[in-house]
Amino acid sequence: MLKIDNINTFYGKIQALKNVSIEVSEGEIITLIGANGAGKSTTLMSISGIVPARTGKIYFEGQEISSLEPDQIVGLGISQVPEGRRIFPNLTVRENLDLGAFLRKDKAAIHKDLDMVFELFPILAQRRHQAGGTLSGGEQQMLAISRAIMGRPRLLLLDEPSLGLAPLIVQQIFEIITQINQENKTTIFLVEQNAYLALKIAHRGYVMETGTVTLTDTGANLMQNEEVKNAYLGV
């Protein structure tokens, strides 16, 4: 479904990604783990076209997307929940969700998805008229995921959804991610620092170090891998 082919991405003169290649098949949950500054967020931003790769190509369902604008990439069915959630603070919860469906025209289906999201996270229904900036961290993460779901993506990119959340909320968020994958048939590309949780739900995983992919295997195998255990699982 998604094929990242040998990309190199730069911030000015600083090279953040070196010859990165990653493939994602339809229906999978794949995870990308790595230390701070490894280049995980940059990988997602290159896919979304915010920080385009300088060399190399990215394909989505056979079509090259590495030269497209971000809004065109969203239009093809790739949504991202970026690091830090990036809720619009001065827009209401409902307006944030409406913007998630910005490119859609199927009004009836949008309404159904809104109901689904409110069922998934009842707290958002209660807070729908409240400004996004007034939500708690956990609620903002729920809103960020819901906003992305409102776009009905076929590939959902998630950047550290567990960051700064209490264990119970993290648990809930990960359950929902699995649910979205199984019920909505949405392919998931999950970036996480919490390697244990990520590898547990992922079919396959990639390990990234200073801009390069150093290891890839199934989630289960990576969890048994000595290097991964030492570096990321803290055992």
């Binding site: 979304s48 076209g49 915010i50 604008e69 971000p70 809004d71 969203v74 239009g75 949504s79 991202q80 970026p82 990036r86 619009f88 603070p89 001065n90 827009l91 307006e95 409406d98 913007l99 998630g100 910005f102 490119l103 906003r147 776009g151």
Partner: protein
């Protein structure tokens, strides 16, 4: 009618015009944090275009109402295209450069447009036709208001209502608010931010042109330089209200308009133009973010 009412009415007239111009300043700043110093020239170009159109339409024998509407609408559309093109030519290519580059480009654009009109037209004041017809029923009002003043108030009110509706409830309005809060996130949701910026310039230019046409038919004369002072004052009004805030721009415009008229009416009309700058100096010292502004603003 007593002197005070007259002075207040004239202050509200000025305030309305400043508001129509300040909207463009504040909306553009809200989205790309640029002070578009060439914005006043769009106001001037709107007035000149309407003047030319009105003259041509008069030759062809159109009646007053037809001239008013045709000249205004075509001039507004034409000026909006100017604003759109200005952004594409002078600002978009340097959007990722330092802030100073955009500022210099804006000042350059302003000088270019002023001199272009000066050479293409004239540097003298030209009489502006009275395109606003007399409304006889206005004399029934307890306060005496000219038909031009009435048109200025009515148009400003309509523009404010339409704009509020647009920004609050429409899709483009929501994408404008989203882009002004977080451009990257707006892009990640499929918003074409370039388009949002273009629409912002188009709306701001259209309201400025409307202001230019209205004020010229009120004062009855124009030249290539009218956009400069009006632009600076509307900028002061936008800063006064809190740059980036639309209600702030409107509030700041009326505060400025009333201060100027009251100052000119009760202190001395020689210092009419000085009040704007006194207000600017005071607000920058007392509350740099403006009356309705939030947080710090960067000095430009």
């Amino acid at each position: 009618m007593n002197y005070f009412t007259e002075v207040v009415l004239s202050g509200l007239t000025r305030g309305s015009i400043y508001a129509l111009i300040a909207l463009g300043y504040t909306m553009v700043y809200g989205i790309i944090e640029l002070i578009n110093f060439a914005h006043g020239e769009i106001y001037m170009i709107g007035a000149f275009t309407a003047l030319i159109l009105a003259s041509v339409l008069t030759i062809f024998g159109f009646n007053t109402i037809a001239i008013l509407f045709l000249a205004s609408i075509i001039a507004i559309v034409y000026s909006a295209m100017y604003g759109y093109t200005m952004e594409k030519v002078a600002y978009k290519p340097i959007r990722n450069s330092q802030r100073l580059s955009a500022l210099i480009s804006a000042i350059g654009m302003s000088m270019f447009l002023q001199n272009y009109v000066r050479i293409a037209q004239t540097s003298d004041f030209l009489p502006f036709p009275r395109i606003i017809p007399r409304f006889p029923w206005l004399s029934a009002l307890p306060i005496s208001m000219s038909s031009a003043q009435f048109m200025i108030f009515a148009s400003t009110a309509v523009v404010m209502v339409l704009l509020t509706f647009l920004i609050k409830f429409t899709k483009i309005g929501k994408s404008m608010r989203a882009a002004s809060q977080d451009k990257v996130m707006a892009k990640l949701l499929g918003v074409n931010v370039n388009k949002v910026i273009s629409v912002t310039f188009i709306i701001g230019s259209a309201t400025a042109a409307l202001g230019g046409i209205l004020i010229s038919s009120y004062t009855g004369q124009i030249n290539f330089y009218i956009g400069f002072l009006a632009g600076i004052k509307a900028f002061v009004a936008a800063v006064l209200g809190g740059i980036g805030s639309i209600p702030g721009a409107v509030l700041g415009s009326f505060v400025l308009g009333l201060t100027e008229s009251l100052g000119a009416g009760y202190i001395s009309s020689d210092y009419e133009d000085v009040f704007a700058f006194i207000i600017l100096a005071v607000i920058l010292i007392v509350k740099p973010a403006g009356i309705l502004g939030k947080g710090q603003i960067e000095k430009v």
